[in-house]
């Protein structure tokens, strides 16, 4: 939502500035207080948001090592060239993209389903909302620790899956097999966030006026057609919001992968960009390279956000 405001308001701003240039008196005094209230935050953001992002961009053009006595050397785009030729980094991009797609698509689908189902119930709405939301309250490290135990060869995950598939005694190698460990991280993330997005969908569903549904019913819509032609199109803004938010969340994933690798899972299949970024900074101390990595991550996020907006812009719905 915020994104869409930016271009519009930038132009209204210019008009706004012209209009207020010559105000004085009590308004002027008030305006001064407005500034005083904002300045602490503004200074903070300049120092700890805008400067760092520019600095990351700048540092990415240098060969720079942490704690090294050698002065940073300007190397142009060599860091980017190196990264784009490095199989290790491509593996990270692959891991991140696979994780993101494999997580946010099920999240969007299932949270929508859960929200619709909750909405259709007359009782226990509050209970289901609370229950589904509760994992989002836990810290991600705790979540990863719980699942680490449940995914243990002798843990609950094997017992359940074997019970459902009727295959007693089989170890599904949740944390050992390179495909399974990716699925495991997705599952953990899905578990943590599906309820959070269910809540957002519920608010979206609640804001569709009842009169529209009633009108559709009068015209002969049944549950399914009502959903397909009324609910779904009207829910589009919420769906876009949820998919962007969940996708950005997935692209930034770190804790689960970090704790899993610390707990003995193989690194390579789940070496997402943030994990790679962390190790490049802390272990290799190569902050020039790490900065380039973070800028690429940033560009990926911007690209995916733009893509989602573009694909969702096709038909706007107002009600």
């Amino acid at each position: 939502m915020g994104l869409r405001l930016i271009p519009v308001s930038f132009f209204t701003l210019i008009g706004d500035m012209k209009g207020r240039l010559f105000s004085s008196g009590i308004e002027h005094k008030k305006a001064r207080w407005g500034w005083i209230f904002i300045i602490p935050s503004l200074v903070f953001f300049s120092l700890f948001s805008f400067y760092p992002i520019l600095n990351a961009l700048y540092t990415s053009l240098f060969r720079k090592k942490l704690l090294s006595l050698a002065p940073p050397r300007f190397i142009g785009f060599d860091n980017y060239v190196y990264l784009l030729q490095s199989p290790d980094f491509w593996n990270s991009i692959r891991a991140t993209v696979v994780f993101t797609l494999g997580t946010f698509v099920p999240i969007v689908v299932f949270s929508l389903m859960l929200a619709l189902f909750i909405m259709s119930r007359k009782r226990f709405q509050k209970f289901f909302q609370m229950a589904y939301y509760s994992p989002a309250v836990l810290s991600s490290v705790v979540v990863a620790a719980i699942w680490l135990l449940m995914l243990d060869p002798r843990g609950l995950a094997n017992q359940w899956v074997n019970f459902i598939l009727n295959t007693p005694g089989i170890d599904h190698k949740w944390l050992a097999n390179s495909t399974m460990v990716q699925i495991s991280t997705m599952m953990v993330y899905f578990w943590k966030y599906v309820g959070y997005f269910t809540i957002i969908f519920l608010v979206g569903l609640g804001s569709i006026p009842k009169s529209i549904h009633e009108a559709a019913r009068t015209d002969g819509a049944t549950g399914w057609t009502d959903f397909l032609y009324i609910t779904l199109p009207l829910l589009k803004p919420t769906t876009v919001l949820v998919s962007i938010m969940s996708m950005l969340q997935c692209l930034k994933t770190f804790s689960t992968q970090y704790l899993f690798t610390q707990g003995g899972a193989p690194m390579e299949p789940i070496n997402v960009i943030t994990l790679n970024l962390y190790y490049t900074t802390i272990r290799d101390r190569n902050i020039g390279l790490a900065s380039a990595m973070s800028i690429i991550l940033f560009c990926m996020m911007l690209f995916f956000t733009w893509l989602q907006f573009k694909t969702s812009r096709s038909e706007e719905v107002h009600y």
Partner: protein
């Protein structure tokens, strides 16, 4: 609707065709009701299974934290512990090396999360108030700039932030852990939205009575924005309680580490048994879960701020 149709059918002459129609309607109605019953059962089953899937790991954490390690890995898993195995909690708090560093780490988490929450709430309310209730040049530009920072993910600016903190000499200190989170763009956005609907008349009345602008903020704005403040405070506290990446960079000594770092270290240690691991996780989760149960309204309210709709 249905009643009206029935009356019509009953009232009309009993032609053969009408009878057939009525019979057909009755049959389809019956079919639809069995169909809707099946759908009903399906939806209930789906919701309940989903709830079980969501809640089972919680139950697992708490039950496993009360069991000796041998019982946890026993197949099939016994959901009810035989007794309460306190040794897990003791081992978790004591640590494998007997240093009791977890207590210190909990304290650190409390200090950092509280300090960040206090400054974020205060500065966000201040800036949100300034943006919502004062007309001044460049107001929109400032607001847009603040919204733009929402687009900058922390992971991307983490390294420059780390360099700044090192340069300031804040590494491995509370200041280092707190400084990058003094105020949040999200917080300003939330507070501004809240203050926009605040009646101007109230502020003007206070001004006529001679209140200064800071006094208005302190005496009128702050006491009247408890719901927004509570939402922001809870979300901020929670996100700091959860923070892993930044303390991982800044906190080097065990004394300065926070709960998530302790959990990671404790999990990775060889001598850790499963029960103690879950005890540590349970200790970290209990405060936030209690907060959630009491104040779920604010937790859930915070989730939907960006939808721009009233939840």
């Amino acid at each position: 609707m249905a009643a009206v149709q029935n009356v019509q059918i009953r009232g009309s002459p009993l032609l053969k065709r009408d009878l057939a129609v009525a019979k057909y309607r009755k049959r389809t109605k019956k079919w639809i009701s069995t169909q809707s019953l099946i759908i009903d059962i399906f939806i209930w089953a789906f919701l309940i299974i989903a709830a079980a899937y969501i809640l089972a790991p919680f139950v697992f954490m708490f039950t496993a934290s009360a069991m000796p390690a041998g019982d946890i890995t026993k197949m099939p898993y016994r959901w009810i512990p035989k007794g309460f195995y306190w040794q897990n909690y003791w081992q978790g708090i004591r640590g494998n090396d007997g240093s009791f560093i977890y207590l210190r780490n909990i304290l650190n988490s409390l200090i950092v999360a509280s300090a960040v929450t206090a400054t974020t709430v205060f500065l966000s309310a201040l800036a949100g108030f300034g943006l919502a209730k004062y007309q001044f040049k460049g107001r929109h530009l400032v607001f847009m700039m603040i919204l733009a920072t929402l687009m900058i993910p922390f992971e991307v600016i983490m390294i420059p932030l780390y360099l700044i903190i090192m340069k300031l000499g804040f590494q491995d200190s509370y200041l280092g852990l707190i400084t990058p989170f003094l105020v949040s763009a999200f917080g300003i956005f939330l507070m501004r939205q809240y203050f926009l609907s605040f009646p101007d008349a109230m502020l003007d009345a206070a001004r006529i009575d001679g209140a200064s602008e800071p006094m208005i903020f302190r005496k009128i704005i702050l006491p009247n924005s408890i719901p927004a403040i509570a939402t922001l405070a809870i979300l901020t506290f929670k996100s700091q309680w959860d923070n892993l990446l930044w303390p991982l960079l800044v906190a080097q000594t065990e004394e300065m580490k926070t709960i998530p770092l302790y959990i990671v270290r404790f999990t990775a240690e060889k001598h850790t048994d499963e029960g103690a691991m879950m005890a540590v996780a349970a200790i970290a989760s209990i405060p936030i879960l209690i907060l959630f149960l009491i104040l779920s309204k604010y937790f859930i309210g915070g989730a939907v701020v960006f939808t721009g709709k009233k939840g």
